[in-house]
């Protein structure tokens, strides 16, 4: 466990083990998943042959919950190492992933790809237009050649009608 400068011993001691927090989160997930299984329809016993649709998922949820309890118990003996905080660029990249799929669905794949090929390297710090522009033009063109013309993958044209 890393100790940050200026952090007191009391604060360190008061901090819950990281794996305990993980185990509690998994247990919460198990509780939620179990609650969802309560909403599964019951099948007639002749069809279900005494194995209802919820039986197996509940069994698996039970296994996960048991393992999580074990993880919680073990966390007091040996905890996993703390990771460095997530850099803002990771969140920006995650947002770009989502934006790309939205653009894929609305503007169409080709337009989305051209925009992404231009925007993503720029966001990651590339400033040389001599590299950005050829990449934004040639990479989508290569993809189009291989996948649309070569492998026959069909993409919806989207709002811009580019296909």
């Amino acid at each position: 466990m890393s100790i940050h400068p200026g952090e007191g011993r009391a604060a360190q001691a008061a901090r819950l083990p990281r794996d305990l927090v993980v185990a509690l989160a998994v247990l919460t997930f198990c509780a939620a998943a179990y609650a969802v299984t309560l909403g599964f329809k019951e099948a007639p016993s002749a069809v279900a042959q005494n194995v209802q649709p919820a039986t197996f998922p509940r069994l698996v949820i039970g296994v996960i919950a048991t393992l999580s309890a074990l993880l919680a118990a073990l966390s007091f003996r040996s905890d996993s190492a703390r990771k460095r905080p997530v850099k803002p660029m990771v969140a920006v990249t995650a947002a770009m992933m989502i934006a790309f799929v939205i653009a894929f669905d609305t503007l169409g794949f080709i337009a989305a790809m051209v925009l992404f090929s231009l925007a993503m390297p720029m966001l990651w710090g590339e400033r040389r237009w001599s590299r950005l522009l050829p990449f934004a033009a040639l990479f989508p063109a290569a993809i189009y050649l291989v996948f649309v013309l070569g492998l026959g993958v069909h993409f919806d044209p989207g709002l811009l009608g580019v296909n």
Binding site: R18, D19, V22, V26, A33, V36, T37, F40, K41, A43, V47, A48, Q49, N50, V51, Q52, P53, A54, F56, P57, V60, I61, V63, I64, L67, S68, L70, L71, S78, S80, K83, V86, K87, M89, V90, V92, T93, A94, M97, I98, F100, V101, F104, D105, F109, M113, F116, S117, M120, P121, W124, G125, E126, R131, F139, I143, F147, L151, V153, F155
Partner: protein, 493 residues
Amino acid sequence: MDAFLAAGTAFLDPYLIGVVLIGTIGGVVVGAMPGLSSTMATALLLPFTLTMDPIAAISLLSALYCAGTYGGSITAILVNAPGAPPAAATAFDGYPLAQQGKAGLALGMAAVSSVIGGLFSVVVLIVAAPLLARVAYDFGPPEYFALSLFGLSMLASISGESAVKNLIGGAFGVLIATIGMDFTTGVDRFTFGFWELSEGIHFIPVMIGLFAGCEFLIQAGKLNQPQIRAALDAVRLPSLDDFRKCAGTIMRSCGIGTFIGLLPAEGGTVAAMIGYNEAKRWAKDKSQFGKGDIRGVAGPEAANNAATGAAMVPTLALGIPGSATTAIILGALLAHGLRPGPHLFTETPTLLYAIFLAMLLANIVFGVFGLLGAKLFARVTLIPIRFLWPSVFVLACIGAYALEQSVLDVWIMVGAGLLGFVLKRYGFAAAPIIMGLILGELVENSLKQSLIIFDHEWLRFLDRPIVVTFLVLTLVSALWPLVGVWRARRAAV
């Protein structure tokens, strides 16, 4: 014999040879790129192989798998950045050798020992897979249930942060496999009213997301790190003296890698680590290990490549993946409408022999390319990550979309990538989730069928000796990491 001749004839077709060559070169290239593993590459490529003939498709993926395992050693030796996890142990001595100006020797030894390990394991595959398949004919649903539990329990000992977290990941994968309609009763589960989910979540988008989508985000956090570039003069074949020094290590590692590969869920990474440790343990002079001992390159490289063919044995004979990449190849077989397991040997023997031949060919070809083209392949480290990873993400999106031509699959891929990133930060690896996802259906169906056979009397599982054997092995493999921790503590006191 007829099937072997048919497969051999198929390999006279320049198209099939070309496919294996492309798979091999592609495997070495992606294997050499840090972050891009053969597992990710097979996951990305799988959707596009669905339009291919099954023999060509599986041969392509198998060649990529074999070559990718070797490719990882190039950057492990040259820049101390293993291209793939199985090459991590190669860096321990390979990189110090490169720093001493002996990169060519290290690369040459890596190529030769990889080829020996790979060929050894393919021979084992050819001999052992049909034998195991014959045994598997006696397997009924209870045996398959116990076997799949054993496969999942082995997740405890695969590399990762924690054995318990690996097991949770595996069980989580099984839970994801229950999404969609229960085929016995026709009742929807975890679909939340979305009819699109009734058919279940296909494992391909999840797999692509967990490997490629997640890695895209990891790379986003490494942008400020300087990109390490490879440099070497020439690759040279190890001398006779080098071979004499390493022969024992290579042969031992072939055995170790094959044994580890045969175990469900274990793979090249574990094999390489044990191969390295054993190379060191058996050495009379251990002083140079970690500083540039050539046996520290030969040991892990022979072991991780020996695990590749061996991992295909349970995959083909039992339908239980031997590693993360073979889980994807298993998925490819299923996607092509083929039934992995003993029936594969009677129904499509030509395909099996084609896989064997493809792997043999791939091992020879990557050996040649490894020696002749390592300098060229090392240049992949020159590709700026600002362009490389956005391209990989776009390919991941196309891979997820191309399967059903559905944007929902792209959303699933992105969701899996984001989830995979969060899970990874908290110590959960992607491979156990994938294993669970692929084995989930088998676990549920075999359990249900067993319960019907046993009239819901659970204790009747214990009437069957094979089931009891697998259940005991399951307990041992699940608890083994805890025994290891206990022994380490005792030794420390």
